[in-house]
């Protein structure tokens, strides 16, 4: 088995603070890998480096046998490495459909076309609508992104990421701020995606993490303190002490209150 | 030749100090309040006119100079309450439109009150002479006084910014504008203060150049653009950056106008050198700005846009 994504010796500092500290990790194709850790552990910084938004100070990122450490964000997306954002990052003045259609447009054909109205391009719209249907948002296709509810924005965020045609999806807290029902629906959706995509998931919701993940890595102060199958990580004494212990209960039930 | 260089260096320094006085307030309004103010240059002009009017009325240079400060502070507060306060959280372009309108209003008001002809301010006896510099070289006392006054104000600003609570807020705000309100500070009061003090400094600069240059309605326009250049080179929001950049721009501009043509004559024939010199000298500061922004897209002391 060869890994789809291999990180070795990844290091990033802001000022004197090391937010990613000599991190090495390998992620197999078609697995779901959760990265957990307390606030400020450097999870989002890690995602930002994997997606190309931030450049690491040292280390290497190999994706599909290619060194992408210095590749920009757009280049990584074209190779199938896409991300979603923790703080919703949508185009507020565009309809839900157009938000997704743009992602389809980025993948298909040239965007240096100047005369035909993009909004009327059926091929783009159909593909976009399919993505919206997949996340259960087809009914809201023509509403502005800024007018959607919080949960719907999370769904749209996922639809946009899916429309880029990813092979590996980096999900930065896809459930953040959602209510119970919304979260259940999103977890079910991620469960469906899991079978055909490789997912890297950052999430605080432990129930979701242990329901979805094949592998779990624990990050504390930018450092990997444990990595392995969920059961093993859950019983790892170092993890219990450093992270799960804070919640003083079985992590399965602790989080979503 | 060496004397000429020294002389122009001091002239450049003096010009730079003036630019700093105008730029200091504007860079804070820009950096902390994220407010684009095109009307800052006219405050400099209004300062010149207030000085001319006061010294004509009182006949006393010093008294007038002292009175300019509260007058400009008052004008600053008035403008803040009437216009600027309402544009805080509006898009930049609305601010551009409103302050462009203010420039027209204030320039026209000045013409209405004092006429379009340039006014002059006479120097007090004590500052009218010149002092020996090196060898046969002499330098006007008043220009030295301008440099000294400017440096004193720069020092005062440094003290306020580095050592006081307000200064701490200003620094925090320049680094991260959202933080100021998060600290529970009354942002509106802070903005009012920054704006009014900025108006006072710009007006003071206009007042102290009044005896050297003539006071005319166009004086705000030319300084505004150079002030922008200074702020951008220094990094928006950084008073220290504004100081360094102001001296840099003042010296480069002054030296370029004098020595550009002289240097070019070594390379080109006289006619071509004269022509190239006329182009290059005023362009020099813009080349400097473009160069700085090319290497450092956020200016010398600006916060980086990367993070």
């Amino acid at each position: 088995m060869s890994a789809l994504l291999t990180i070795s010796g990844l290091t990033k500092s802001f000022g004197g603070l090391r937010v990613t500290d000599d991190l090495s990790l390998s992620i197999e194709e078609c697995t779901t890998h959760a990265v957990i850790g307390p606030n400020g552990a450097g999870k989002t910084t890690l995602i930002s480096q994997l997606s190309g938004q931030l450049r690491p100070d040292a280390g290497q990122i190999i994706y599909a046998d290619e060194d992408i450490t210095r590749l920009d964000m757009a280049g990584r997306v074209h190779r199938g490495l896409a991300r979603s954002f923790q703080i919703t990052t949508l185009l507020p003045g565009f309809s839900a459909l157009e938000n997704v259609a743009l992602a389809v447009q980025a993948r298909r054909g040239s965007s240096f076309r100047f005369f035909r109205a993009a909004r009327a391009e059926k091929a783009l719209n159909d593909a976009a609508l399919a993505c919206l249907e997949e996340v259960g948002l087809a009914a809201q296709a023509n509403r502005l992104a800024s007018e959607l509810s919080h949960g719907e924005k999370r769904q749209l965020e996922l639809a946009v990421a899916l429309a880029t045609g990813p092979r590996l999806l980096l999900l930065d807290e896809p459930l953040a701020g959602t209510g119970h029902d919304e979260a259940e629906a999103l977890i079910a959706l991620l469960g469906r995606l899991k079978s055909r995509l490789t997912l890297v998931l950052i999430e605080h919701d432990m129930a979701a993490v242990f329901a979805l993940a094949d592998q779990v890595s624990v990050l504390v102060n930018g450092r990997l303190i444990a990595s392995g199958p969920p059961a093993r990580v859950r019983s790892d004494p170092a993890v219990r002490a450093a992270y799960l212990g804070e919640e003083e209960a079985d992590p399965c039930c602790a989080s979503r209150v | 030749m060496l004397n000429l260089i020294l002389l122009q260096l001091i002239n450049g320094l003096q010009f730079g100090i003036l630019l700093f006085l105008v730029a200091a307030g504007l860079t804070l309004v820009f950096g902390i309040m994220d407010f684009i103010n095109l009307a800052h240059g006219v405050l400099y002009m209004v300062g010149g006119y207030v000085m001319a009017a006061l010294s004509a009325a009182t006949g006393n240079f010093w008294l007038s100079l002292v009175l300019v400060l509260p007058a400009m502070l008052g004008i600053g507060l008035l403008l803040e309450a009437a216009v600027f306060r309402k544009l805080h959280d509006r898009p930049h372009l609305d601010q551009v439109l409103a302050t462009f309108g203010l420039v027209l209003i204030l320039s026209e008001l000045v013409k209405l009150i004092w006429g379009a002809a340039p006014l002059s301010v006479t120097l007090p006896e004590a500052l009218a002479g010149s002092v020996p510099l090196v060898g046969p070289l002499r330098y006007p006392v008043y220009r030295i006084a301008v440099i000294a006054a400017g440096l004193a104000i720069a020092l005062m600003l440094w003290f306020v910014i580095a050592r006081t609570r307000i200064g701490m807020l200003l620094r925090a705000g320049a680094a991260n504008p959202a933080m100021v309100s998060a600290l529970g500070v009354n942002v509106n009061r802070l903005f009012m203060l920054v704006f009014a003090v900025g108006a006072m400094l710009a007006g003071f600069a206009g007042a102290i150049v009044a005896p050297i240059l003539s006071v005319d309605p166009g004086m705000g326009d030319s300084i505004l653009i150079l002030t922008f250049v200074v702020i951008v080179i220094g990094g928006v929001g950084s008073v220290r950056g504004a100081f360094v950049a102001a001296l840099l721009v003042g010296i480069v501009d002054t030296m370029g106008r004098i020595f550009g043509p002289i240097l070019l004559k070594q390379l080109l024939e006289p006619a071509a050198a004269a022509q190239a010199g006329r182009t290059l000298a005023p362009m020099l500061v813009y080349l400097l700005m473009a160069g700085v922004l090319f290497w450092r897209p956020s200016g010398l002391f600006g916060r980086s846009t990367g993070a």
């Binding site: 109205a117 | 439109l97 362009m283």
Partner: protein
Amino acid sequence: MSIAKGAAPLVILGLTLLPPLASAAGDPFLTVIATRMVIFALAALSLDLILGFGAMVSFGHAAYLGIGAYAVAVLGGMGVTDLGLQMLAAALAATLFALPTGAISLRTRGVYFIMITLAFGQMAYFVFVSFSALGGDDGMALKGYSTLLGLPVLASGTGLFYVSLALLTLALIGLDRITRSRFGRVLRGCRENSLRMQAVGFRPFPFQLTAYVVAAAICSVAGVLLANQALFVSPAYMSWQRSGELIVMVVLGGAGNLIGAVLGALAIVGLEEGLARFSHHWRLGFGLILVLVALYSPGGITGMIRRILPAGRPG
């Protein structure tokens, strides 16, 4: 935007009727003013493409007005008076200047972008100030009007007006198409959220630079017309005040919907000429209007229209 669709034909139609109305009113000077309005509307329209749709606030856009005007002077001096060739040369020269300066400017963002475009505009200004062969600071008078297919169409005020209006209409239709196209959608997306665009696989730079160059080329055509109207070119066409005025036109009209830029230009040229008839100190009233619009009418003139006619708003 529905407002653009509804208002644009009305505005163009209204302008078409101006010259006959002017001669009926016995005031041929009105046609001169109307021509100025149309020429500046074209310049403002080109700025709206980058400012309104791309969030690139250029403070040096008047440079292209000047480049277009000087193209007429230079080619006219060489005996080339054909309007088509002059416009082509102007657009080419504008492209040559816009490509490198735009590429450098796009390294910066926000206020820094405003200032670096100002710097390039000023550089162009000083180049022409020192060019004594082209009249230097004082500018130079042109020998004659440009010709259209060999005919002296532009020599009559009405001819110049209708040619300008035709070019404005063409630009309005063309830019309307462009802003709705795939290209325009990417440009608008980058305006709203550049990070998001990168995260779906776009590199904003080539799109923004293309828009910058297209805007420059269109503005240079306005410069060609301006030179014909005044029969005179001078560096004053490219001063920073002129660039500022173009921004103010776009913002006053309402940025990002094309027709707003046109309305803004009409309003500003109209106000300047209209108020100047009443008083020497017309700038006072003019400034006051700008401040009031900025304070009380977000979105400028089109914003105002939209609030008065809320029916046009979808959803």
